[in-house]
């Protein structure tokens, strides 16, 4: 098993440019994706990962947003502070970049990691649930796989964890339920120290 778990405080730089094969992709990344690239690269350091290795990822409930909602709100409120659809269309949507959509869609961390790391195999993006993420791995068609998760907390802290493991090693994971955020899998694994890269 290979594990990496990383966290970055709000405002803290996530140093990934040196990790990217295509540096132009960086502009599409939100902080969860950047943290994912950092954690995945750390986990995979020195490894040769087959391109058909499955990748299962869980994006956890986002509690902090920096996608431009405040800009849209400022642009679309009228003189009484109420929503104006005309202002929303005329000014609100032009206040943010089309690239923002890549920062909002939940499957983008997995998508960008697959592009950067040349992964083409079995895959899924789960919303939050630790149990469902483990189920994806448990019922995967391959014995070896990569699982990962990302979480942006209310204070802007972003966490990301990845593990390269096999089905036999799933026994080391505790019985998570659907209410537990998948990021907790990697926090627990990293605490154990035994499997940490």
């Amino acid at each position: 098993m290979r594990i990496s778990f990383k966290s970055f405080a709000l405002g803290e730089s996530i140093p990934i440019l040196g990790l990217l094969n295509n540096k132009k992709l960086n502009k599409y990344f939100n902080r969860e994706t950047s943290a994912g690239i950092a954690a995945f690269s750390d986990m995979a350091q020195g490894m040769e990962i087959n391109s058909d290795t499955p990748l299962f990822y869980s994006t956890c409930v986002v509690e902090y947003e920096d996608f431009g909602l405040n800009k849209i709100v400022d642009a679309c409120k009228d003189e009484n502070g109420r929503f104006s659809q005309k202002l929303f269309v005329d000014l609100g949507m032009s206040s943010i970049s089309p690239i923002t959509q890549f920062k909002i869609l939940y499957n983008m961390p997995l998508s960008f990691i697959s592009i950067e790391k040349n992964l083409t195999g079995d895959n899924a993006v789960i919303y939050n649930s630790a149990k469902a993420l483990i189920d994806c791995a448990k019922y995967s068609i391959k014995d070896e796989f990569i699982i990962g998760a990302g979480k942006v907390w209310k204070d802007g802290l972003v966490e990301s964890g990845f593990a390269y493991m096999n089905k036999n090693e799933l026994k080391y994971l505790i019985n998570y339920d659907d209410n537990t955020a998948a990021i907790e899998i990697f926090r627990e694994l990293s605490k154990s120290g035994v499997y940490h890269v």
Binding site: L25, Y28, S51, L55, T59, V61, E63, E65, L69, N70, I72, V73, C76, K77, G81, R82, F83, Q85, K86, F88, V89, D90, M93, I96, P98, T100, Q101, F102, I104, L105, Y106, N107, M108, L110, S111, F112, S114, I115, K117, N118, L119, T120, G121, D122, N123, A124, V125, I126, Y127, N128, S129, K131, A132, D135, C136, Y139, S140, I141, D178
Partner: protein, 399 residues
């Protein structure tokens, strides 16, 4: 060896608020795409939408309500009111996996409440995780309930996981499907800004044109669909609608914005699903394609069809439901499987709505004008997601 079978369904979509309405309208060639009326779109640069309907009326909710959550609750209610098999399974043996789109955000409510002053936006973001829990609680689903959020393949990946769980756990009862609605201010115009929406200048019902030479972008649809999946050794035989015999998912690893134009990994998924089902490409009787009505999707999908079927690629009849209902994003593949079941049940491939002029670069055998009658035992369902995820499901007539 037991088979994994679909034993029931329920749905809400632009073709109606129950299965009967869906199939009646589908067979009648009714199209569910109009100009948006569920919310005020007066100033929108484009207004096409596949809004969910009850009868011929668009279903309307107050703006603070997450439309897609209501659709899936209704779909599950319909499913389980018609299929009492769930009662034979203990709560621990009941599992639900759905595909869903991104969470609804009530922008209008947020602005009007003035809670933006302190950035208190969370209560205006309606979490689909809550919806999944509500469904689980109502139907005593204690074996797990979760969401896949893999964009346009979310619902087919959810079905794929359900299929895989049942293969090794035939004693389980799986509920799966998908729900989505991007028909709200933020999400709709987000897609507009990406340049993905149809630029059609004619009637709304003609705006989504899968495989047509004049195709010009997708139309966002909405809805919810739920299926029950069982092992056939436990299923009531008279309930069986079709067999899921193969599932595969791949990633293009290409570009965030476009599908791989060579269709290499969509084809790999398709072939894997076919071989899992114990058949060969020449045994596939028709393909229900992703067919979004976008220029690039159809080119890539055509290449994938060439890789899967070789010289037969333009002789196998194909169908896309999106001309009828638009692109349901996180629910699209699962909703389109209703049309697969129709093909198997009625031994027919329906004409793809708005397909008029063949594109030489995307020259599949898209059925036009009249239903195409043929023997159908094996149907391949293809879907491809924004970001490069692909799925293929091989669905068989149950025998």
């Amino acid at each position: 060896m037991s088979k994994i079978v679909i034993t029931g369904a329920g749905q809400v979509s632009p073709l109606g608020s129950n299965l009967k309405e869906f199939y009646t309208n589908l067979e009648s060639g009714i199209k569910g795409i109009r100009n948006i009326t569920a919310f005020n779109s007066d100033y929108f640069p484009t207004k096409f939408g596949g809004e969910a309907k009850s009868g011929s009326n668009v279903i309307k909710f107050d703006k603070e309500i997450d439309r897609k959550a209501e659709f899936i609750k209704s779909a599950v209610d319909e499913l389980l009111s018609n299929n009492l098999e769930i009662d034979k399974y203990s709560p621990e043996n009941r599992i639900a996996h759905f595909g869903a789109g991104i969470d609804y955000f009530d922008l209008e409510g947020y602005v009007d409440s003035q809670k933006y002053i302190n950035a208190e936006w969370e209560e205006f973001c309606k979490r689909s995780t809550i919806t999944a829990k509500e469904i689980a609680k109502k139907y005593k689903i204690a074996g797990g309930s979760s969401l896949n959020v893999s964009a346009c393949v979310a619902s087919t990946q959810a079905l794929g996981l359900a299929f895989r769980i049942l293969k090794t756990n035939p004693e389980k009862f799986l509920i799966s499907g998908g729900f989505d609605s991007m028909l709200c201010h933020l999400h709709y115009l987000g897609f507009y800004k990406l340049g993905a929406l149809s630029t059609w200048e004619g009637k709304a019902e003609e705006a989504c044109r899968p495989y047509d030479k004049k195709r010009c972008g997708l139309v966002i649809g909405e809805g919810g669909v739920a299926y029950s999946l069982q092992s056939d050794e436990f299923a009531e035989k008279s309930n069986i609608l079709a067999e899921i015999a193969g599932y595969s998912s791949t990633m293009d690893s290409y570009m965030p914005t476009d599908p791989n134009p060579e269709g290499e990994y969509l084809a790999k998924a398709g072939l894997s699903a076919i071989y899992q089902a114990g058949i060969s490409p020449e045994d596939v009787d028709c393909v229900h394609v992703h067919g979004t009505g976008t220029f690039r999707n159809e080119l890539a999908e055509t290449q994938a069809m060439k890789r899967i079927f070789g010289e037969l690629y333009n002789k196998i009849p194909v169908f896309s439901l999106k001309g009828h209902i638009g692109h349901l994003i996180g629910a699209c593949g699962a909703m389109e499987i209703l049309a697969v079941i129709h093909s198997i049940k009625n031994q027919v491939v329906l004409p793809t709505a708005n397909f008029e002029y063949q594109d030489k670069e995307a020259d599949l055998f898209v059925i036009k004008d009249e239903p195409y009658r043929t023997n159908i035992k094996n149907v391949l369902k293809l879907n491809a997601g924004f970001g490069g995820q692909n799925t293929a499901i091989l669905i068989k007539k149950y025998e």
